[in-house]
Amino acid sequence: MVVVLVSISLAVITLDYREGEDGPLAGLGRIALATMAPLQEAVTTATRPIGDFFSGLVHLPSLERENEQLRRQNEELRAASAAGADKESQIQQLSDLLGLKESLTPSSVPAVVIGNGLSNFRYTITINRGSSDGVERDQPVVTGSAQAPILVGRVVAVTPFSAEVQLIIDRNSVVAGRLSVSHETGQIQGQGDQDLRMTLVTPGTSVSGDETVVTQGYEVSGQQGLYPPGLVIGEVSRVIQDADGLQEFVTVRPAVDFSTLEFVLVLQTSRSEG
């Protein structure tokens, strides 16, 4: 029995490994993903308030944050019914996005985040828009307001009614970035839960703290200018010099809190344009 099951697993691993993105197994995966999406959406809608509450309580890196969060909760409870406050903030976020949608030149699709990737090694989210809404692979995903669109990630898998978005904090994500003040360019790579790491093209330049980092619209390692220029990525948090002084890193704190992301926009850039 066990031998059979193990052999099947091994066969699947091998098949999947050799086929890559376009094989029948990946297709099966997409079908399964598509059936899962409506369920995920339902559960997320029902449990988001509970999840928000517990996430506030559980992942406390410091007492200070806890204090602040509890105070905020307290305020919210006092202000009005929690549901009312929640609706209001949702409307605010949506109207921000609407403004953003109007200000962006390529057309865009608004979407709701319905699930987070569950692996500890991949940072992805699932959104409730798919190929039937015009979402395609490699399209950039943003959030924020019209004044400052913030980069979230890019679409990596599409089903008819949902899509998988790789966040910029994923270790496989590489984005071309530019410092807004010193105009230095570099590659920004995800580091999981830690701040993003930006490798500067020309080392030895003076970079000041809390400079804003935005996307640069040229190609990096095979990704043909996926992202339109000027999207906010984050702020410089630390400058690290290599021991031999040959390379300089800048860590970048993302402008988005990915754990509380609710609404996003998918930019409709086609790959041929990029």
């Binding site: 697993s9 993903l33 996430s55 559980v58």
Partner: protein, 169 residues
């Protein structure tokens, strides 16, 4: 038999849904829980090595396919894990009520390490060693915390649907 299969499918789907929605927000120091590890090991303790392997295989495959991960690795890990724990359980005679929790913690740690090694060999993950160890340790801890919640539920579901053994003297 049919009832058990349905119950099992329901348990797996529920675990996956919870894990990808609610629990993905409730992280322990940045690490998500591994609900299916808890389910697999609990079932192995309750029902023995063969059931453990089957649950692990079904749950692992479901997780790999439904959540678009590299396919087969979770299935392989959980099949072996379910079988091993089920086997080990038969040799442990301890009345301690903490036994499931300890087995789940140890099992999850070994399972996650195994998963990481296989993924690494296949070039699917590329994280520093320290991070991998941290994930394994925290997953184990998280699983241990969840066991007192999950284990009794599973025991109730599956003891009721178990075909009655008729003992004649």
């Amino acid at each position: 038999m049919l009832r058990r299969t349905l119950a099992l499918a329901a348990v797996i789907v529920t675990a996956l849904l919870l894990q990808s929605t609610v629990f993905s927000q409730i992280k322990l120091l940045g690490v998500r829980p591994e609900l299916l590890y808890v389910v697999t090991i609990s079932m192995a303790i309750l029902e023995g090595p063969n059931e453990g392997a089957i649950v692990g295989f079904a749950g692992g495959m479901a997780q790999d396919f439904l959540l678009d991960q590299p396919k087969g690795i979770t299935a392989l890990t959980l099949t072996l894990l379910g079988y091993t724990v089920g086997l080990a359980r038969q040799y442990i005679v301890s009345p301690s009520p903490l036994l499931p929790t300890i087995l789940v913690a140890v099992g999850t740690f070994c399972g996650v390490i195994f998963y990481e090694i296989v993924s690494f060999l296949l070039g699917q993950i590329d994280d520093p060693l320290l991070y991998l160890l941290r994930v394994a340790f925290l997953s184990a801890l998280y699983s241990a915390v969840l066991t007192p919640l999950v284990y009794p539920i599973l025991r109730r579901i599956f003891e009721r649907s178990r075909p009655r053994r008729v003992v004649r003297f």
